[in-house]
């Protein structure tokens, strides 16, 4: 294994998230009740997704400045892991919404925005699959990647805050300040976010290394 310290940190933080997240005290709130604990698992998925997409865009820009197979592989695999996190985020959100809002799909602006940005990133992979030439594929998808990221930011992080959304932090709803009352929740929430982001990075780097090895094998066989 390569550079193991942050992988160990990820395991430690996630173990703490599960144990602390299920056992430690949370504020007694109406409607959400015990489900408030889902915060430690549902929200970090989106943080992880956003970080993965950001890194993916950084490598896309790097590719456009100085084309290389590595930059392209990094960009794709970070986007891939980010998409996986996003899908988990939307599924867990639907389960949570079913119990607190009454229906899995409430048409909430943040829910819709998240769904649209996931579709935007799915189209990224459709685009990649439809171009045969390696260099063209890398270049086109790198340009698309920059647009996909800049579309995601307003869709998930800005528009829902400007309209009335049932998500915390939107349309006059309290944001994370709601949990400020209970600093105990922050003690699990922040480590959870870091742990889940590190896990995403771990998965992405394993995928990247595998892709690079197999690309090299292809070159050798030619």
């Amino acid at each position: 294994m390569k550079k193991t310290w942050w992988k160990i940190l990820s395991v430690v933080l996630l173990t703490y998230t599960v144990v602390g997240g299920l056992l430690m005290e949370v504020p007694r709130l109406n409607i959400v009740n015990e489900t408030v604990r889902a915060l430690y698992f549902h929200v970090p998925m989106w943080f992880g997704m956003a970080v993965m997409f950001l890194i993916s865009m950084v490598y896309a820009i790097r590719y456009l400045r100085k084309p290389s197979v590595e930059a392209d592989v990094y960009s794709v695999e970070f986007a891939n892991t980010g998409l996986a996190y996003g899908i988990l985020g939307i599924l867990t959100g639907m389960i949570w919404a079913n119990y607190t809002w009454g229906t899995p799909w409430h048409g909430d602006p943040k829910q819709n925005g998240a769904a649209v940005s996931l579709l935007v990133y799915l189209a990224y992979f459709v685009l990649r699959g439809s171009v045969q030439n390696d260099e063209q594929r890398a270049k086109l998808s790198a340009v698309y990647n920059v647009f996909a990221f800049t579309a995601m930011i307003p869709l998930i992080f800005i528009i829902p805050r400007m309209t009335s959304s049932m998500h915390p932090g939107s349309g006059g709803n309290p944001g994370f300040n709601m949990y400020d009352l209970d600093s105990k929740m922050r003690m699990v929430f922040y480590p959870a976010v870091i742990g889940w982001i590190l896990l995403a990075g771990w998965i992405a780097t394993v995928r990247i290394r595998f892709r690079i090895v197999s690309e090299k094998l292809d070159e050798q066989s030619i």
């Binding site: 294994m1 992988k7 173990t15 599960v18 056992l23 009740n33």
Partner: protein
């Protein structure tokens, strides 16, 4: 006056405490200790998946070494 206040306080403090407790939480499940079963199950799944990822990581490392050799 003072004594009236004290009486009111003594009467109302338990009421306030009860009002806080009224939000329904999984208190029974916790007191029965069944929550530990849930913690154990989720931990086994999490650590199992991580072990799986570690094995994948090692496999890729082995391939990388073979490429260099």
């Amino acid at each position: 006056m003072k004594s009236v206040f004290t009486v009111l306080l003594v009467v109302f403090i338990p009421v306030l405490l009860v009002a806080q407790q009224q939000v329904e939480m999984a208190d029974t499940m916790r007191s029965e200790g069944k929550i530990y079963a849930v913690v154990a199950i989720v931990l086994v799944i999490l650590l199992g998946l991580i072990a799986y990822l570690v094995m994948l990581d090692r496999k890729v490392s082995k391939l990388e070494k073979q490429m260099k050799g």
